[in-house]
Every structure is written in structure tokens, then in C-alpha cells.
């Protein structure tokens, strides 16, 4: 009897609860926002923020798998978004004359963005994840800068003769009717804006499913075991660098997918958009939302993307208030009194649920 209850609670109950809450939250938010858009109750400013919020959420959920669940600091998540964004933009730009269906093109671009970012993640991970310590933070920090510089110096276009590519200076000579996909420091210009909120919401849901399903599987236990105690993890036969690689590559892939959606939401996108500040911002979403807490990450992302816009009326004091809000949230979430209070609330709820069951 006791055993059965435990089987239920750990395999399906407790774990599924976190997943269900976050998924319901996304679906609910999607329905409410769609209704608001349809009925004209959402300003254009906020409508324009919906897709970027989805993108940042996906990248932050991925980052939380890497930082919160796997315990490896990653300071280059924006670099992976950048790879995904420009890979997606190039694919969509190239396929535009061939494939009029924008949804299919968007999905393909997101897939390519994810795959490209995963390949880069894998290559970076091979040497770095064998080491212990903060090497991943240093290397990903450098990686973000390198990717930014690379794309800033890249010229890439195509015409009826095929692709043309040049580096540092634009020496491509496109035939009439050709199209530049990447324009060096100007980035991607004239991109067809095919991203939409629905795809964004679906991508958030998929990111949640991927991360939760990994977390509550053999791999997730191994990732968390390696985080909690590397030596003990190896002593029970867990290959630590492989499990950390899995978390890192999935995290990069989600950033790549998010980047592709982000890139296809704007007519122009400069490489500087994905700089170190963006990586740090994503890390702030993760830390504020709670390490390993995906629902918290989503809420933190939405609030912190919206906050600067909501504070626009404060003009010069905007960033000051933003910083104060950040500090207050951090103090509150680390407040012992509040923590025990929430703990009691949760325990009370659990007991009530136990009685019902």
C-alpha cells in the first residue's frame, strides 16, 4: 500500500505537478493574450513584445537546464541564440522563392537554428566539459564574443548562380535578382517577418516538455547527481562529462531555436543584438526565477522583459527602478521567514491532497 503510493507520487504525482503547472500557465497565458489581441485590448507595443518574450523564455529554460540542473555556468547563451538566428534567417531567405508556405519555412528555420547551435555546443563541450571548475563559464564567455565578431564580419548572399560568401570586406558580386542574407555589421536586412506568437507559445511548450522529460529520466538524475557530487556520481557508474554534455547541448539547441524565431520576427537584425549583456540578462532570468525552477524562469523572463517598458514613463529613473526591483525580488526570495511560510503553505496543501487521495 505504502509502496504503491510512493510509486505514484514520485513517478507521476510530484514530478508531473511541476510540469502540469508550467504547461497550464503557458496555455492560459496564450488564451488570455490571444483573446486580448482579438478584442483589441492589447497595445501594439505589448503585441510586439510577445514573440521576443517567448524567445527569451525558451533560451532561459534551456539555460536553466545548464546552470540550474547541471550546475555549469554558461555565459554565452546569447552566442547560441545568434547562431540560431542567423542560420534561421539565411535558410528562410534562401527558401523564400522556393517555399511560399511561411509556417513550414519558420519551422524549418527553427530546426536548423537548433541543430547549428547544438553542433557548436557539442564542439565547445568536447574539451571543456572534461575539466572541473569554472572553465565552461570562461569558454562560453569567449565563445559569445567570437560569434558576435565573426557574424559582424560575414557577408553572405545568393543569386541564380548559387551562394557567395566573403569575409571582412564585402566582395560578393551578386547578379541582379540576387539577395544579400548577411551584411556584415548591418546584420540581416530585409528579412521577411514570418514569426508569430502562436509558434512562439508552441516553442515554449516544447522547450518545457523537453527539459522536464530530460529532468525526470535516467539522464536527468545523472545530470543532477553529477552536480551534487561528481566523485559519488562516477562511483556509481555515471559518466559525468557525457551527462554534462547532454545538458549543455540541449541548452544550446533551445537557444538556437529561440534565436531563429527571434531573428525571423524582425526585418533587420544586427549581430550586436546578441552580445554579452544579452547572455547576462538570460542568466538573470534564470537566477531570479530559481535554479532548476522552469515556471519561475518563465515568470521572471516575462516580468523582466516587460518591466522596462512599463517603467518607460519614469524616463531617467527607469533603470534605477529596474535595479531596485531586481534587488528587492532577490532579497524576498532569499528571506528565511518567507521561505518557511511558503514551506508551511506547501506542506498544508500536501497534507490536504494526501487526505483527498
Amino acid at each position: 500500500m505504502k509502496a504503491n503510493k510512493s510509486v505514484f507520487s514520485s513517478l507521476f504525482g510530484r514530478q508531473r505537478r511541476g510540469r502540469t503547472v508550467s504547461i497550464l500557465l503557458v496555455i492560459l497565458a496564450y488564451i488570455v493574450l490571444t483573446v486580448m489581441i482579438r478584442s483589441g485590448n492589447l497595445s501594439r507595443l505589448f503585441q510586439g513584445l510577445l514573440v521576443p518574450i517567448c524567445c527569451y523564455m525558451v533560451a532561459a529554460i534551456g539555460l536553466n537546464l545548464n546552470v540550474g540542473v547541471s550546475g555549469e555556468l554558461n555565459l554565452g547563451q546569447a552566442g547560441f541564440m545568434s547562431i540560431g538566428a542567423f542560420a534561421g534567417i539565411c535558410l528562410s531567405g534562401r527558401l523564400a522563392p522556393l517555399l511560399p508556405n511561411t509556417l513550414l519555412r519558420l519551422v524549418l528555420a527553427i530546426l536548423l537554428g537548433a541543430v547549428c547551435a547544438m553542433i557548436f555546443g557539442f564542439l565547445i563541450g568536447i574539451p571543456v566539459l572534461k575539466l572541473q571548475g569554472d572553465y565552461l563559464a570562461i569558454v562560453t564567455l569567449a565563445f559569445g564574443q567570437i560569434i558576435k565578431s565573426l557574424i559582424t564580419n560575414m557577408y553572405f548572399g545568393f543569386d541564380e548562380n548559387g551562394f557567395q560568401f566573403s569575409f571582412v570586406a564585402n566582395t560578393t558580386k551578386l547578379a541582379p535578382g540576387g539577395k544579400m542574407l548577411l551584411n556584415g555589421p548591418m546584420g540581416a536586412t530585409g528579412t521577411e517577418r514570418i514569426a508569430n506568437f502562436t509558434v512562439g507559445a508552441v516553442l515554449v511548450l516544447l522547450a518545457l516538455l523537453v527539459v522536464y522529460h530530460i529532468m525526470y529520466s535516467k539522464s536527468g538524475r545523472a545530470i543532477m547527481a553529477a552536480r551534487d557530487n561528481r566523485i559519488a556520481a562516477e562511483s556509481v557508474g555515471i559518466h559525468v562529462s557525457n551527462t554534462k554534455m547532454l545538458a549543455f547541448v540541449i541548452s544550446a539547441g533551445l537557444a538556437g531555436a529561440a534565436g531563429a524565431l527571434f531573428g525571423l520576427n524582425y526585418a533587420t537584425l544586427v549581430p550586436n543584438k546578441f552580445d554579452f549583456n544579452t547572455s547576462i540578462l538570460l542568466l538573470v532570468y534564470v537566477v531570479l526565477g530559481g535554479l532548476g525552477n522552469m515556471t519561475g524562469t518563465m515568470i521572471a523572463t516575462a516580468v523582466l522583459v516587460l518591466l522596462p517598458e512599463l517603467l518607460r514613463s519614469l524616463q531617467d529613473y527607469r533603470m534605477l527602478i529596474y535595479a531596485i526591483v531586481l534587488i528587492v525580488i532577490m532579497l524576498l526570495t532569499n528571506n528565511e521567514t518567507l521561505k518557511t511560510w511558503f514551506g508551511k503553505l506547501k506542506a498544508g496543501k500536501g497534507a490536504a491532497a494526501g487526505k483527498e487521495g
Binding site: 505504502k2 509502496a3 510512493s6 510509486v7 507520487s9 514520485s10 513517478l11 510530484r14 516538455l209 523537453v210 522529460h213 530530460i214 529520466s217 535516467k218 539522464s219 536527468g220 538524475r221 545523472a222 543532477m224 547527481a225 552536480r227 551534487d228 557530487n229 566523485i231 559519488a232 556520481a233 562516477e234 562511483s235 556509481v236 557508474g237 555515471i238 559518466h239 547532454l246
Partner: protein
């Protein structure tokens, strides 16, 4: 009698240097199947260093470790566990933020064969193997009287229970040889008594060999069939508990002259 049994672990001429310091030298040890062997010695004798060499946390500088007849020179920590050596640690090393149940499930890591792909898409193999693992993990917890604590976070367990959980996690990897590093450390006589019964039960139930480091002589003399004494990194004596208790060298090493 021991000679008729199968040799599980055969260590010869084992030694390790840290820089200029020779921590262990010329160490030899045999463990036969289903045997409980004690490894004792004064503080700093190199007992835990021997454990770390047996599990390849340290790469030995000299000597051979043959496990189940196979030379293990090229094996890593992970491969030693896969080969069948599991251990506990002197300073408890649990997966502190995981639940008790997940700690044991993590021990079953290599007996689960579904891929991350099947986990993401929740294919039938995921559900089948997770159910099997869950059942096996709960059975193990029951043996160690931890079934009521399955959902507790490991770091919230009382000390004795943490020690038991570490043994349960080690057993989840299906070892042929279990290394226990001071399992009774910090336990009161009552708990030590229970632990002794538990170690015997583990040996009989799982049919495995156990090598243990311990300072509690009541435990060592009570359950070990053979004892090896280590002093200053060298093999001092080897024999049955009665032989060891009567050995003048051992008494000198422990009490001085």
C-alpha cells in the same frame, strides 16, 4: 577453506606516490567471494588511499589489481563500477539535493538502457524501465528500512540513515564487491549493532564480497572473517580476527611500546 572459493579481488605489490611521498607500498590483498574482510590500521595508515586506488579515484603508481581474474590497469572510475566494484565514502557523499528514492535510482543508472531520445518523447521503453527501476529501488530501500523516507531530500536525513542510503545506492549498481569506508563512524553502540546485522544480511542476500575499513574493533572482530592490517602504508599483518588480536606487531602499532 577460503582457497576453495573463487577469488574476487587480487591485489599485488600495490603502491602509490604523491610527489616524493610514498603513501602506500607493497600492499597485497585477496578477497574471496561472499567474504567479509576488514582493512584496519592507525590513522593515516593509507586505508582510504587503498580504497581510492581500488576504485581508480587515484591511479596506482605500482602493482596490479585483478578483479574477477581481469587486470584493471586501464580502467577508469566509471569502468571499475561497471566491472562490479561499488563503494561508500568516509565523509558521506550523497546526491544531497535529490530525494532518497532518486539517489538509489541514480545508482541503477547503468541498468537502464533507454536513450535520452525515448525520455524526451516518452516512448514505451521509458515507462517500462522507469517502473521497473522504481520497484527495484523501493525494494532496496525496504532492506535498509528507508522506504518511508523515499520522498525525503537526502541531505535532510538523519546521519545513520544517510550512511544506510549510501550503502543502498552502492548496491543499486549490482556490485560483486562492496567497499565500505568506516560505515560505523559516528554511530552509537545500538546503531553499530544494527549495522553489523545489516552488513551480514547484505552479504547473504546479495551474495557479494565486502571489504570494509573500520575503527570500531567490536564491529571488525565481530563480522570480519579475515583482517588485513595496514601501518605507514605497508602491510603489517593478515589473518583471522583471533590471529590479529594476538599479533604483537599489531598491538605495538596501535598502542605503542
Amino acid at each position: 577453506m577460503a582457497d576453495e572459493k573463487k577469488l574476487v579481488l587480487d591485489v599485488q605489490d600495490l603502491g602509490i606516490d604523491f610527489g616524493g611521498l610514498t603513501a602506500v607500498n607493497d600492499f597485497a590483498l585477496q578477497v574471496f567471494e561472499k567474504e567479509i574482510v576488514g582493512l584496519i590500521g592507525p590513522n593515516g595508515a593509507g586505508k582510504t588511499t587503498v580504497f581510492n586506488m581500488l576504485t581508480k579515484v587515484y591511479q596506482p603508481s605500482r602493482g596490479t589489481i585483478r578483479f574477477l581474474g581481469e587486470d584493471t590497469a586501464k580502467k577508469s572510475v566509471v569502468e571499475m563500477n561497471k566491472a562490479g566494484i561499488a563503494r561508500t565514502f568516509q565523509n558521506i557523499r550523497l546526491f544531497s539535493q535529490l530525494s532518497v528514492l532518486d539517489n538509489v535510482k541514480a545508482g541503477f543508472h547503468n541498468s537502464i538502457t533507454y536513450s535520452p531520445f525515448s525520455a524526451i518523447f516518452r516512448l514505451p521503453s521509458y515507462f517500462r524501465q522507469e517502473r521497473e527501476t522504481e520497484a527495484k529501488a523501493l525494494d532496496l530501500l525496504k532492506i535498509f528500512d528507508l522506504q518511508d523516507k523515499a520522498d525525503t531530500i537526502a541531505s535532510n536525513l538523519p546521519y545513520g540513515a544517510q550512511r544506510r542510503l549510501e550503502i543502498a545506492r552502492a548496491l543499486a549498481t549490482d556490485p560483486k564487491l562492496l567497499l565500505l569506508d568506516e560505515p560505523a563512524a559516528g554511530m552509537n553502540p545500538q546503531e553499530t549493532e544494527e549495522l553489523m546485522a545489516m552488513i551480514r544480511k547484505v552479504r547473504d542476500h546479495f551474495g557479494i564480497a565486502i571489504l570494509l575499513i573500520e575503527h570500531d574493533m567490536r564491529l571488525v572482530m565481530g563480522i570480519c572473517e579475515r583482517i588485513t592490517v595496514l601501518n605507514y602504508g605497508m602491510l603489517l599483518a593478515e589473518g583471522t580476527p583471533a590471529q590479529i588480536q594476538a599479533n604483537p606487531d599489531v598491538i605495538k602499532a596501535y598502542l605503542g611500546e
